[in-house]
Amino acid sequence: MTISRRVFVKSGGLALFSLGLDPLFLARAALASNRLSAQPPDRPVLVCLFQRGAVDGLNMIVPHGDPLYYRERPRIAIPAKDLVDLDGHFGLHPSLAPLKSLWDNKSLAAIHAVGSPDSTRSHFDAQDYMESGTPGLKSTSDGWLNRYCRHDQEHADTAFRAVAFGPQLPRILAGTSPALAIDDLQAFGLRVPQEGARDKLTRAFEELYDGAATGLLASSSQEGFAAIQVLKRVNPAQYQPANGAAYPPGRFGRSMLQIAQLIKAGVGLEIAFADLGGWDTHINQGSSEGQLAARLRELGVGLAAFAQDLGEGMRNVVVLTMSEFGRTIAENGNSGTDHGHATAMLALGGPVNGGKVLGRWPGLDPASRFEGRDVAVTTDFRDLFGEILARHLGAPDLGAVFPGFSPSPQRFPGAIRV
């Protein structure tokens, strides 16, 4: 059925374009009409967190065993006495101390020196490449998480398969597969006090868009109305985190809480996305305390609360942090760091090969630096993302997700236990 629809889209798309119906809409509509409301089984979940602005990987996962680290960062290095040591060479920023127990029970790993083969130091370009999954190629119109959804249709059966928390759908989930952008689960839907009147108005708008909308307006509204039906059942206003989990105040904490809620509700969530900003620390970055420390604290507390809230449920969940690039090895003249190259990412969850700093560490020695100043990339981000898609979500065809690249098991950093 799906195949015949796709053929229809392919052959009819061009002709219909002139009528104002673009192929993107048709593909989304075809998928949307394919959904069932049946409760899916216990499926693996991937939560992607984007640290926008380029996190300083060296102060997040600190190579304290390397004297060059302290020499290059006289004002902003994390003193050894404040660090949470991991393996004698690397340590966690003190703000990430809430994650230490997860490291100890082997469900947290760090991947160092990961990044893009493209050398750009532009936030915009680098984020774009990390989300499109095609470094160096600007013309890719969709994101790699969306392409994964499109090429693994086994799970394309619920409105909540792929959800981004925020007012807009991010680039990473843009594309022909349906994906939801939700700012707040509780406010999702039409705000009319009486249930009867609300249902009636919802139906009226649904009909309006069903008949008169074209393009993205049509497919997006369809996704929205399908989601309203499911949420009616879930009743997010009643949610209480389990095991005494305390999420940090603010947008990020709320996103993590609502992701946990959707996972527990069994609505078929497979991909969740949230982002958190404030990492572009050019000036007065701080050390054990300060600007970066405050952002990392929010991240650490949020991740720890999420793991605690889900408890046993973490056995099927992988949380992956990512950031467009790292920052310069040396601090700059403003007690900050400038745009660099490789950075560190975190993987958390039951399937994670935890308790290790993964990836080949290139060292801080000037001879092994990228362009003489930055941490070199030894793991292409597509090898890490690809490994998680293949070994955690069971993606059958990574070539379709990362066109022009073939992630190879030999190069996988080993983030997922096999």
Partner: protein
């Protein structure tokens, strides 16, 4: 005189340019009001059609001659406009002091509940609200609609983030003194104005960029250097240089290298800001400037000095890549998300001929066949700002002077002056259309129709009379609020929804809510 001749020529030339697919005068009036303005107010399509759309466009271009009394009166409500940059800087300083005292107090008492703070902190917050709401009020009320659209375009093109430190108090003067006076002037002047603006210098860190090894003169600064804080910067910062080339001028494919970026950053060393106590104005710090020779974009810069930066900006403004990059973005705003080459080429041509006169470039776009092509009509989805402002205008509603209407725009996904990335907001629909945001728009439309939209007062009696005759009602809603764009399907759905509604006022509320929240009104 020349203008009048041109106008007559345009009025004559337009139908010919459109050929067989000529639009009716009402169609073209609606199209122009959708793109050059924030949508029509009730009856405005007819009035523009009567004047003649090309004449109306020329009136909008020559905005200085359009009276704008209502808005001028309204601007008195905004305390923000009574303060200049120095006064705002002072208030910012007071707010910071208050916050520090509060933090000390909190540390002493161990009380971590954050009080909202009265006095300077509160005043600063209110001024920040003023800034956002003023943009919404101007967009709704101004007769000089094209100018407001262009102010929004340039403020987004030369994006700054009001949430970053000193930009909290520098952004108001950025909008009033840097963007607004130059919005329909010459691109080069606008570019230089942004480069010298304290808001941009702070936002993209150029204020902190100094030649390596340089240090400020005078015993005071030496003292500060030796102190514990060491706030004096000691190296170049490439941030502004990179975004200047990538976003403001040449574009990411504009053919420059990392070496160019470094050279540009060196040229701008010393372009900085006075201390807040002295008003935080533009200052060129001779001591911080790198006087060495630089090679940027194949041109040699020798001898140093502030003039070097101005020379570079003029060079950038006259590059073909800049003309193409900015023209294409203008066409993406005015014509379609992925604009045809024809209108872009016409804009670039006009740019060449006029040395970057923004009016000439816009005129080339507005007279290009691509602008008036049938596939351009309603081809663009409104941004959240455009949706909210056009809905308020369509319903003949009045915005109040509180922050609330701007907060509606924020909730729909476009918090004004709060885009942290230097890219600004995209000009394309993929950014704005998703299921959550669409439901938000439906909610806003229903609230506006019921008179419950925060920050807008509406009296629908002035727009559509309440009547028990549903067919008459829906036709009036179509004519007055949707300018006749309602599809037969939408009409049928609204009528079905009204079937069991007996109260004429309630019926009108439902019809207007569905019309403004429906698919037709999301497009322009």
């Amino acid at each position: 005189m020349r203008l009048r001749v041109l106008t007559v020529w345009l009025a004559l030339a337009l139908p010919a340019a459109l050929g067989a697919q000529a639009l009716t005068p009402r169609d073209s009036a609606l199209h122009a009001l959708n793109r050059l303005a924030y949508g029509p107010r009730p009856g405005e399509v007819d009035s523009v059609a009567r004047v003649g759309v090309m004449r109306w466009i020329e009136q909008q271009m020559a905005f200085e001659r359009l009276p704008d009394v209502l808005l001028a009166e309204r601007e008195h409500d905004f305390k923000l406009l009574d303060y200049d940059r120095e006064e705002l800087a002072q208030r910012y300083g007071e707010a910071l002091r208050q916050r520090r005292e509060m933090q000390r107090e909190m540390a002493r008492s161990g009380d971590t509940t954050r009080p909202r703070g009265a006095g300077p902190m509160r005043e600063l917050r209110e001024l920040g609200g003023d800034l956002q709401q003023l943009a919404v009020v101007r967009a709704v009320l101004s007769e000089r609609q094209l100018r407001e659209v262009m102010v929004d375009f340039w403020a987004n093109h030369f994006n700054v983030f009001v949430g970053k430190g000193a930009d909290r108090f520098l952004t108001p003067s950025y909008i009033e003194e840097t963007i607004r006076p130059n919005a329909l002037g010459r691109f080069e002047d606008l570019l230089i104005a942004t480069a010298k603006s304290p808001a941009m210098l702070f936002y993209l860190d150029n204020a902190q960029s100094v030649a390596p090894g340089s240090s400020p003169p005078g015993p005071l600064s030496a003292l500060r250097r030796g102190g514990t804080q060491r706030r004096v910067p000691t190296g170049i910062n490439e941030n502004y240089a990179r975004e200047l080339l990538e976003l403001h001028t040449l574009g990411v494919d504009g053919g420059y290298t990392q070496q160019d970026i470094i050279a540009v950053a060196r040229i701008f060393t010393g372009w900085s800001i006075d201390r807040p106590q002295r008003g935080a104005g533009f200052a060129f710090h001779e001591w911080a400037h790198d006087r060495g020779e630089k090679q940027a974009l194949g041109v040699r810069f020798q001898g140093g000095g502030m003039e070097e930066g101005v020379r570079l900006l003029k060079l950038l403004a006259s590059q073909h890549a800049t003309m193409h990059h900015v023209s294409r973005k203008l066409c993406a705003r005015f014509v379609s998300d992925d604009p045809p080459d024809g209108c872009v080429d016409a804009a670039v041509d006009a740019w060449h001929r006029s040395s970057g006169d923004i009016r000439a470039v816009l005129r080339a776009i507005f007279t290009s066949p691509d602008f008036w092509a049938p596939q351009a009509l309603r081809a663009k989805v409104k941004t959240p700002l455009e949706f909210v402002v056009s809905a308020v205008r369509a319903a003949g509603a009045a915005p109040d002077s509180t922050l609330r209407l701007a907060q509606v725009v924020s909730r729909l996904g476009q918090p004004l002056y709060l885009q942290p990335a230097p890219t600004g907001y995209p000009e394309t629909q993929a950014q704005w259309v998703n299921s959550g945001a669409l439901l938000g728009r439906m909610n806003a439309a229903v609230a506006l129709a019921a008179g419950r939209l925060p920050g807008a007062s509406v009296d629908l009696d002035d727009v559509v009379a309440a009547t028990a005759d549903h067919a008459l009602l829906v036709d009036a809603v179509n004519a007055r609020l949707l300018s006749g764009t309602m599809s037969a399907h939408t009409r049928a759905v609204i009528l079905a929804q009204l079937a069991d509604v007996n109260d004429p006022v309630q019926a009108r509320t439902i019809a207007v809510g569905l019309a403004l929240g429906g698919p037709e009104f999301q497009r322009q």
